[in-house]
């Protein structure tokens, strides 16, 4: 046990003097991740606003056929530009990406409208261009609204109430809390926390294993009367210490910087006060031990510092994958998912940020499974150091 602490203290001290370790553990992760995150948030909020405020660009062919419709569109912030020619010309303009949306009003439009027959207009669009979806929906809705207006005038002219046409009305009632709305955006928060945590231990794990071997200091170390358990345990704990530090700094930076992003202006609120920040830290601690064991184990397999670097750079992405999927598919917290490390922490953090209660069973299951896997990996690492091939 004493040897374990000796190893731990020495690795912490030595890495504290290594600029690369300090930079990645204490500066890059804790500052870089929140910065990147704030940038992403602002970008996505700005884009959301842009969509509503921006005038809709709509190419219209045959606008002379429907002056009232065009006037209605112009009143509703549609920037109408004329396209010369007919349907074929509009189709070609969309296909060649000269315009994104083209509305074609055929010659018979006015005549059919007057006689009360359905009047057809054509909206040309390229559905393989996903960025045009919101604009298309807006154009359709506007034409639909105009159609409804015309219909209600017709009914009114015949002395009938326009509400006859609406036997059923759907009223959407949004029950999401401002905190709940925020988490759709903040689903990525735990992704950044996990990533920064792993980055914090990356160079320590490499230095204490592949670095030790490359320097030639492993062989004399292994000839000392200490157990492999103390040796590897001390190394894993040193990596974990840097990860824990990195984690704490990252959460603190998030807690301090996110209030500066004006979420409330968009009807969102974030439940990230000091209490929640501390709870997130505690929830993540088992993951820190798992991550440290994982990094140490994989780095021990490699032959050189460089090789370890390239392996671990890919490895740190693995624990973030479940989070990515969960964020994209909006996976809801379930007890059945709590045995998956990193995913369980992500789901628990999401619940905390939404100010939803988290169950003791879920927390225990998450911590237990994460720690168990961490212990297993640590045992494998210790066994690896007991093999003589560790010297390479």
């Amino acid at each position: 046990m004493r040897a374990l602490w000796t190893v731990f203290r020495k690795e912490v001290l030595e890495n504290l003097r290594d600029r690369r370790t300090v930079l990645s553990a204490l500066v890059l992760g804790p500052l870089g991740a929140p910065l990147l995150f704030a940038l992403m948030m602002n970008l996505s909020i700005e884009r959301g606003r842009e969509h509503d405020d921006r005038p809709l660009q709509l190419a219209v062919a045959g606008r002379a056929n429907a002056p009232n419709l065009v006037a209605f569109l112009t009143d509703h912030r549609v920037h109408v530009e004329a396209v010369p020619g007919d349907a074929a010309g509009a189709a070609e303009a969309v296909r060649s990406h000269r315009v994104r949306l083209a509305l074609v009003i055929p010659d018979g439009y006015g005549e059919r409208l007057r006689t009360g027959e359905p009047s057809r207009v054509l909206l040309y669009t390229d559905t393989s261009d996903t960025s045009v979806g919101a604009d298309r929906a807006r154009a359709e809705a506007l034409v639909g609204a105009y159609s409804a207006q015309v219909a209600s005038w017709r009914l009114a002219a015949r002395g009938l109430s326009p509400s006859l046409m609406q036997p059923i009305v759907v009223d959407q009632i949004d029950v999401s809390t401002p905190m709940g709305r925020a988490t759709t955006l903040l689903g990525m928060l735990s992704y950044f926390i996990v990533f920064a945590t792993l980055m914090g231990g990356l160079y320590v794990a490499i230095d204490t294993t592949a670095g030790e071997r490359e320097r030639g200091s492993l062989e004399p170390l292994l000839s000392l009367p200490i157990t492999r358990r103390s040796l590897v345990g001390g190394k894993i704990l040193a990596t974990a210490a840097y990860m824990a530090l990195s984690l704490g700094l990252t959460i603190a930076t998030f807690a301090l910087s996110l209030p500066l992003v004006h979420l409330d202006a968009y009807g969102m609120a974030l439940n990230l006060g000091p209490r929640v920040a501390c709870t997130i830290y505690a929830l993540m601690l088992p993951f820190v031990l798992l991550g440290a064991s994982l990094l140490t184990l994989v780095a021990s397999f490699t032959r050189s510092y460089r090789e370890a670097q390239s392996w671990l750079a890919g490895l740190v992405l693995i624990p973030t994958l479940p989070i990515m999927f969960a964020a994209i598919y909006q996976v809801e917290p379930r007890l059945g998912l709590m045995w998956v490390p990193s995913l369980s922490q992500h789901l628990l953090i999401q619940s905390l940020l939404r100010a939803e209660p988290i169950g003791t069973t879920a927390v225990a299951l998450s911590a237990g499974c994460t720690l168990a896997l961490g212990a297993l990996l640590a045992r494998i690492a210790i066994a690896l150091y007991a093999r003589e091939r560790i010297l390479g």
Binding site: R2, A3, T6, V7, K10, L13, E14, N15, R17, D18, R215, G216, S217, E219, P220, L221, L222, S223, L224, P225, I226, T227, E388, L391
Partner: protein, 242 residues
């Protein structure tokens, strides 16, 4: 005292060590002389426990390294081939780390480090980070590290590799001083002059076997020319032929 008893070790199809038996008594410098790849380093690795023999035993002061590694290794100071230091730690911190891992602490440990620094003439180097140390300076620190717990037995693998003339002389003087203080010293070299100048007892190793052993004088007497070099060459050629 170090005893090697019919050690064997094979890596895949290569038999690196084929039944080496040797006794290195206290107060005596025992040299393992052999060409590169003769099995010297492997023999030492079997002794200090980083590799396990396929058969045979290695004993340090009568304690079996395989069955009681921690007890045996505590009585052994080891300087492996090309031993590395921690560049971000000072020489003192490097030595202290090993002292602590050997169970030492506090004032006693610091006094011991000071004494070693005096003995190895580390001077101002002691408080400097070892990054950028010369090969000679690094060997000194690595040696201090190996000696910090005052081991009765010292194992050195090619210690003079990369040392200049002066540093080599100093190291020799130190080894002889430790021998006179009653320590058991075993070291390997492929440089014959060095072995001749230092060793009380020589074992010539070739093909994983001890092909000749004795005092330098006795070995030299075994060949017509009466030189150790010819004895070495003769032993190697005999060892090579089945």
């Amino acid at each position: 005292m170090i005893e090697l008893d019919s050690l064997t070790k094979r890596f895949g199809t290569i038999e690196a060590v084929r039944g080496i038996s040797l006794i290195a008594p206290d107060g005596c410098v025992t040299g393992l002389l052999g060409a590169n790849g003769a099995g010297k380093s492997t023999t030492l690795r079997l002794l200090y426990g980083v590799q396990r023999p396929d058969s045979g035993r290695a004993l340090v002061d009568g304690i079996d390294v395989a069955s009681q590694p921690r007890l045996a290794l505590a009585r052994l100071g080891v300087l492996p081939h090309n031993a590395g230091l921690y560049p971000h730690l000072t020489a003192r911190e490097n030595i202290r780390y090993y002292g602590q891992l050997q169970g030492m602490s506090g004032v006693a440990l610091e006094r011991r480090i000071d004494a070693l620094a005096d003995m190895l003439e580390l001077g101002a180097l002691l408080e400097r980070r070892t990054k950028g140390f010369s090969q000679g300076e690094r060997i000194k620190v690595a040696l201090a590290r190996a000696l910090v717990h005052e081991p009765q037995n010292l194992v050195l693998d090619e210690p003079t590799n990369g040392l200049d003339v002066l540093a080599t002389r100093n190291l020799r003087a130190l080894i002889l001083r430790l021998r006179d203080a009653g320590h058991c010293i075993m070291f390997t070299s492929h440089v014959m002059q060095e072995v001749a100048a230092l060793c009380d007892e020589i074992a010539i190793i070739s093909g994983g076997r001890v092909v000749a052993r004795g005092t330098p004088a006795a070995l030299a007497r075994g060949v017509p020319s009466g030189t150790l070099e010819d004895a070495f060459v003769a032993a190697l050629t005999e060892g090579a032929s089945p």
